[in-house]
Amino acid sequence: MSRRPYIREPSKTRWWLEQPRYVRYMMREISALFIGIYALILVVGLVQLSRGQAAYEKFLASAEGATGLVFAALAMFFAIYHTYSWFQVTPKAMPLTYDGKPVPGAIIIAAHWFGFVIVSAALWLLARS
């Protein structure tokens, strides 16, 4: 009679630390936490804007300081990671054919980054004007 096989239970909370691609998966997913909190902060900003100048300026002041900057840096990192991971899967999410041949994935991804640069530059110029 053979011994009972050893089965290691994977951790329910830390399984994703075991392989780099699981870590990348979790980074991609957790980006939603930072993006979601950022969106809620923007909503709070709009609420304060609707309550008048004093309330809005208090909101702006509360976002200053070290805590605000640390959150902003984290949010920026994860926002760009979301953009990167989202564009990486576009060739699979929406494969294109041109002239009967499949368009290479790298071109689809590059086109998205091109659009990203245009949209970002346009919004930046709008904010500057």
């Binding site: 951790s11 329910k12 909370t13 994703w16 979790m26 997913e29 957790i30 939603a32 936490l33 993006i35 979601g36 950022y38 969106a39 809620l40 923007l42 909503v43 709070v44 900003g45 709009l46 609420v47 804007l49 609707s50 309550r51 100048q53 809005y56 300026e57 702006l60 976002a63 200053e64 605000g68 900057l69 902003a72 949010a75 920026m76 926002a79 760009i80 979301h82 953009t83 989202w86 564009f87 999410a93 998205h112 659009g115 990203f116 949209v119 970002s120 919004l123 930046w124 904010a127 500057r128």
Partner: protein, 115 residues
């Protein structure tokens, strides 16, 4: 057999992910970093400027569309990811994630209607 609602939910999720991918980094740059680093004019986010911007119905609609999609995309993703992080109280997770998105949506509508 009723039609599945999944295509609609997936469509909204995909739209939210795409809008987030294109807009959130530059929005963070403008709203969080431009002022402390002095990259934009001091009045870029001033009360006068933003209340002027939100006077137009079209701009209100764009702001609503962007924030609605981003919030629900993030809520849906966190809902699924909580399970992968070992949080198995699915009902509570759904309540918190979609509840926050719902409160955010309500506040957003109220703010835009007041402005």
């Amino acid at each position: 057999m009723g039609a599945s609602k999944k295509p609609i939910i997936w469509g909204l999720f995909a739209a939210g992910g795409t809008v987030s991918a294109f807009l959130v980094p530059v929005l963070i740059l403008i709203t969080c970093f431009a002022a402390p680093l002095g990259l934009l004019p001091a009045d870029a986010l001033s009360y006068e400027r933003l209340t002027e911007l939100t006077q137009h119905s079209f701009n209100k609609l764009v702001i609503f569309g962007v924030l609605f999609l981003v919030m629900w995309h993030a809520a849906h993703r966190m809902c699924i990811t909580a399970h992968d992080l070992g949080i198995r109280n699915d009902k509570l997770v759904m309540f918190v994630c979609y509840g926050l998105a719902a409160i955010g949506t309500l506040l957003l509508v109220l703010a835009l209607l007041t402005l």
